[in-house]
């Protein structure tokens, strides 16, 4: 199949991006990545804790995957830029998910600071995928600033509430030329399928998979659902009808 997603010079076959947060142990990550089929995987960056042995999460991500560090913890553009530069120095590529948050209750992004960080990092050659609150004007500016894709939220991070911002997502998908990837809030495979049916370029899922009782099984379910939604989008979804339309013939009855 030739339906590949082009971002940052890469051709990506799987439209499910996977986050690695909240896994009960790193050892579940490779199995889950494999079951999901994901080729883009996020990680975060934190200070080393010298007092406790720690694992390098990146070593649990299959080397064929694109590693996409996020800037979680950043409260403004400057902090996000600094984190992105440190991440790039780790030698795992130049992708970065911009995440600038100054609200601890809903973890909603600061679109303006996100835009500023995008401008700086795109100019420095990063492949920048900003996570943001869906807003058409902001998305246009992100695109103009050089974002490789835009990642609007469906609902608050980790809430499993699904595509509550559908109205705005639909407009972004219609108007924005770079890939629109729905990030945050997707809690069920059916929601991931629906996002793809709407025309999203991809979805990023973390909590719903990592916190499932059987993460690899749930990952496989999301992988299938994303593929299903994409296939249906390409095949053309049908119109709805207020009245019924018979699926068996309306002639040849035995009682005529």
């Amino acid at each position: 199949m030739d339906d590949l997603l082009a971002i940052g010079g890469q051709k990506i076959a799987s439209r499910l991006f996977l986050g690695t947060g909240k896994f009960s142990a790193n050892r579940f990550i490779p199995l889950t990545v494999e079951a999901s089929g994901a080729q883009v995987v996020t990680v975060a960056l934190r200070r080393v804790d010298f007092d406790h042995a720690e694992e390098d999460v990146a070593s649990f991500v299959p080397p064929t995957c694109i590693l996409m560090p996020n800037t979680s913890g950043a409260r403004n553009a400057g902090e996000a830029v600094r984190l992105a530069r440190i991440a790039r120095a780790a030698g795992c590529g130049n992708w970065v998910k911009i995440e600038v948050i100054d609200d601890q209750k809903y973890l909603l992004p600061d679109n303006y600071e996100t835009l500023k960080a995008t401008e700086v990092l795109a100019a420095e050659g990063f492949v920048v995928l900003p996570y943001f609150s869906p807003d058409l004007t902001v998305a246009r500016r992100l695109e103009k600033a050089g974002a490789a894709a835009v990642m609007p939220l469906g609902s608050p991070i980790g809430s499993n509430r699904g595509l509550r911002t559908e109205e705005l997502l639909r407009i972004l998908i219609a108007e924005i030329k770079v890939p629109v990837i729905v990030d945050a809030g997707i809690g069920r495979p059916s929601e991931a399928a629906y996002a793809m049916e709407m025309g999203a370029a991809a979805v990023l899922v973390n909590t719903a998979i990592a916190t499932a009782q059987d993460p690899p099984a749930m990952a496989r379910a999301f992988g299938q659902a994303v593929a299903a939604g994409r296939t249906a989008y390409l095949a053309g979804l049908p119109e709805t009808s207020d009245l019924a339309r018979a699926s068996s013939p309306l002639t040849g009855f035995l009682y005529e």
Binding site: V43, R47, V57, L67, P69, N70, I86, A89, A90
Partner: protein
């Protein structure tokens, strides 16, 4: 001699390099990134760069994140 590492002030002997510091802390170097006074230090710079009083060192690595 005082430096600030990952936000905490600590006393270290004078004249040791970033690489030596990391060895003393017994932390595997492979997956680390080091920032000194706000600028990323590439891996080849670690042995040569001697820590000075008041340096702010950040030693970070990738962790789980979404």
């Amino acid at each position: 001699m005082q430096v600030t590492v990952n936000g905490k002030t600590e006393e270290i002997p004078a004249g040791i390099s970033v690489a030596e510091y990391l060895d003393r802390r017994e932390v595997g170097r492979d997956s680390l990134v080091v920032e000194l006074n706000g600028t990323v230090l590439t891996r080849p710079e670690w042995p040569a760069r001697i820590l000075n009083t008041g340096d702010r060192l950040e030693v970070v690595r990738f962790v789980q994140g979404g």
